[in-house]
């Protein structure tokens, strides 16, 4: 090769390198805009201010609407409310809201409103503002009878929750649960229905014998439960508005663990009339039963998943209780839980995302959940003798019973185990909570 050729080659090389370098350098300051990615947010509750509503006219006694709303939003675990004593002003309508004040207080949303009494009605006008965008995102009126101020307040909480999160609120739903008090001859079991915050509790059944497993019909009008009032467990369906009830299952052996189908026309239940505990489906109109499991093991605690139309249940066919899933009634069951020797009482969230259940870890019993898509399991409670999980209808909250100072109390946690909120302790034991459906 000639000297000239090698010279040429070197020159070419230098030019190429220089060109590449120039390209790379210029790519660094290319015309593409800077992009900042935010992949997580504050893991804390959203700061919200519920300003005490202005009142005109005589208000009925009892908690104020704004304090009920404040309690609801706090219970959800998703909001942190500002104490009214810290508010710089108390506006009751949009034109009085100085957004800078609320920004300084670090608030994201402000709720203002006014209550007006007219005759036997109370009307609320309320507005919700986004502090940073300085715009109103909700402005409505609602009214209720003077005896139903709590209902009005819970409705407002639902509307706010929905406006901010996009999900339906559960503050107007009901809870059913069993309380036990007294000793010996004085022992009383009571089936009660209350607001989601434990208030306005009504006794629906009182008995000297145990009451178990209350289950809400999907339309919120009936409760099915197990009662020992005849000396052995039998299943009743109890219509709440009339108080009328039917004993639907009283076969030899067990009659327990009722669970409603989505159309409200049938119940899953555990019967042992064939010799051992199996899961059956009973058509309520005809009282005809169909046997869904057929195994010498204990099969109990069935629950419909309204999202994927299958049935979860507990079975100890592999030696100890585990969660199983049938894709349709009577199909071959598939095991869901593996990570512990005791997993029982499945409750799917009816959104197809998770199933919740009682889970033993070492000597403690927690509530855990399994992600139905990934199969990942995680424990969501820190308490240690947990039972009876029940998921809220929007899948965001979970209520369960746990031992506290020797008695059983109800606790609400967010579905991922974040915030926790204990319902005000009652007399004696409170157990077997069942979260009622959203009925609009």
């Amino acid at each position: 090769m000639t000297r000239k050729t090698s010279c040429h080659k070197t020159t070419v090389k230098m030019l190429l390198t220089g060109w590449l370098a120039a390209m790379m350098l210029s790519a660094g300051n290319a015309s593409a805009e800077l992009l900042i990615r935010i992949t997580e947010g504050a893991n804390s509750a959203i700061p919200v201010s519920v300003v005490p509503f202005a009142e005109s006219g005589a208000m009925p006694p009892g908690d104020k609407v704004s304090s009920i709303v404040q309690g609801d939003l706090t219970m959800s675990g998703e909001f942190r409310t500002l104490e009214p004593s810290k508010m710089l002003s108390l506006p009751s309508k949009g034109s009085d809201v100085y957004f800078r004040d609320w920004r300084m207080l670090g608030q994201r949303y402000v709720l203002v409103g006014e209550l007006t009494r007219s005759g036997d009605r109370v009307q609320a006008r309320y507005e919700l503002f986004d502090v940073n965008q300085e715009k109103r995102i909700l402005g409505e009126t609602a009214a209720a009878g003077v005896g139903s101020v709590r209902t009005l307040a819970h409705h407002i909480s639902d509307r706010i929750y929905e406006a901010i999160t996009g999900e339906p609120g559960v503050f107007s739903t009901k809870l059913a649960y069993v309380t036990v008090s007294g000793e010996g001859d004085q022992m009383r079991y009571r089936l009660q229905v209350s607001d989601v915050d434990g208030k306005r509790a009504n006794i629906r059944l009182e008995s000297r014998e145990p009451i178990l497993s209350p289950a809400w019909s999907p339309d919120g009008k009936k409760l099915a439960y197990v009662s020992f009032e005849t000396g052995k467990p039998a299943i009743y369906v109890h219509e709440l508005s009339s108080g009328q009830r039917d004993k639907v299952a009283d076969f030899p052996g067990l009659n327990s663990a009722p669970a409603w189908s989505e159309d409200g026309k049938s119940l899953l239940m555990t019967l042992s009339r064939d010799g051992n505990a199996e899961i059956y489906q009973m058509d309520l109109a005809s009282r005809k039963t169909t046997k869904l499991t057929n195994h010498w093991a204990i099969d109990t605690e069935p629950a419909w998943d309204y999202a994927n139309k299958g049935i979860y249940f507990t079975s100890d066919r592999s030696g100890g209780p585990q969660i199983y899933f049938m894709e349709r009634p009577g199909a071959e069951p598939r095991r869901i839980t593996f990570g512990s020797r005791y997993n029982a009482r499945p409750r799917p969230d009816n959104k197809g995302e998770y199933v919740y259940y009682v889970h033993q870890r070492d000597r403690a019993f927690h509530i855990a959940r399994t992600n139905l898509k990934t199969g990942d399991e995680s424990i969501i409670t820190r308490t240690e003798s947990d039972e009876s999980p029940s998921v809220s209808p929007n899948g965001r909250l979970l209520i369960y019973a746990t031992g506290q100072n020797g008695a059983s109390v109800l606790t609400v946690v967010s579905a991922d185990g974040g915030a926790a909120y204990s319902l005000p302790a009652a007399d004696g034991d409170v157990r077997e909570p069942a979260w009622g459906p959203i009925t609009r």
């Binding site: 178990l212 052996g253 109990t300 100890d316 100890g320 005791y342 009482r345 003798s385 039972e387």
Partner: protein
């Protein structure tokens, strides 16, 4: 019926043995403590071990060996039948070895008295879920029932019911309380 002093002591020791076995936290009962008592009782003729006064005991010179033997056996059986509660380990319905003799005694008694009715009540401790415990209590009662039938009782004499964790014998969350709640009770009607 009158029980001799030695029989009463023997019954107490037996009960103590059973309870002692139940209050252990391990999966297995300690067999040795109980077994040694059995051995001791089987090995001697009563008076040597328990010594002391037998004021209302047998006047040894009067009965024959066979009669003494038969009386002893009957007393033993009656003592066994004083035990009407059977305990279980956590999450199992397996009948413990030492309960078998007692159950056999009950079965024989039921077989001999066909009009005798008995109610078997199954229970569980408070750990775990209520509905599963309800089924577990039933399974325990059924296990006892089957054993009795195999050993001579008839099904028509027996009624089973389960209370799950709803009617504990002992309130509390200690291991010993829980151990006493995992049981089947025989209620003779």
């Amino acid at each position: 019926m009158k029980l001799s002093f030695s029989t009463k002591v023997f019954a107490m020791v037996l009960s103590a043995g059973l309870v002692a076995g139940c209050s252990s936290t391990g999966e297995n009962m300690e067999d040795e403590a109980y077994g040694s008592d059995v051995q001791a009782i089987g090995g001697d003729d009563g008076s040597t071990v328990y010594g002391g006064d037998d004021g209302d005991g047998v006047s040894s010179g009067v009965l024959s060996d066979e009669e003494r033997q038969a009386a002893r056996e009957q007393a033993e059986q009656q003592a066994l039948r004083d035990i009407t509660t059977f305990y279980f380990d956590f999450d199992t319905s397996e009948i413990k070895q030492e309960a078998r003799d007692v159950l056999v005694a009950h079965a024989r008694y039921l077989a001999d008295n066909p009009r005798q009715q008995v109610r078997l009540e199954g229970h569980a401790d408070d750990r775990g879920t209520k509905e599963y415990n309800l089924a577990l209590g039933e399974r325990r009662a059924n296990a006892i029932q089957r054993f009795l039938i195999v050993n001579g009782a008839s099904r028509g004499q027996m009624e089973t019911v389960s209370y799950g964790e709803e009617k504990p014998a002992v309130r509390g969350t200690s291991d010993s309380a829980r151990a006493q709640n995992r049981r089947v009770e025989l209620i003779f009607q």
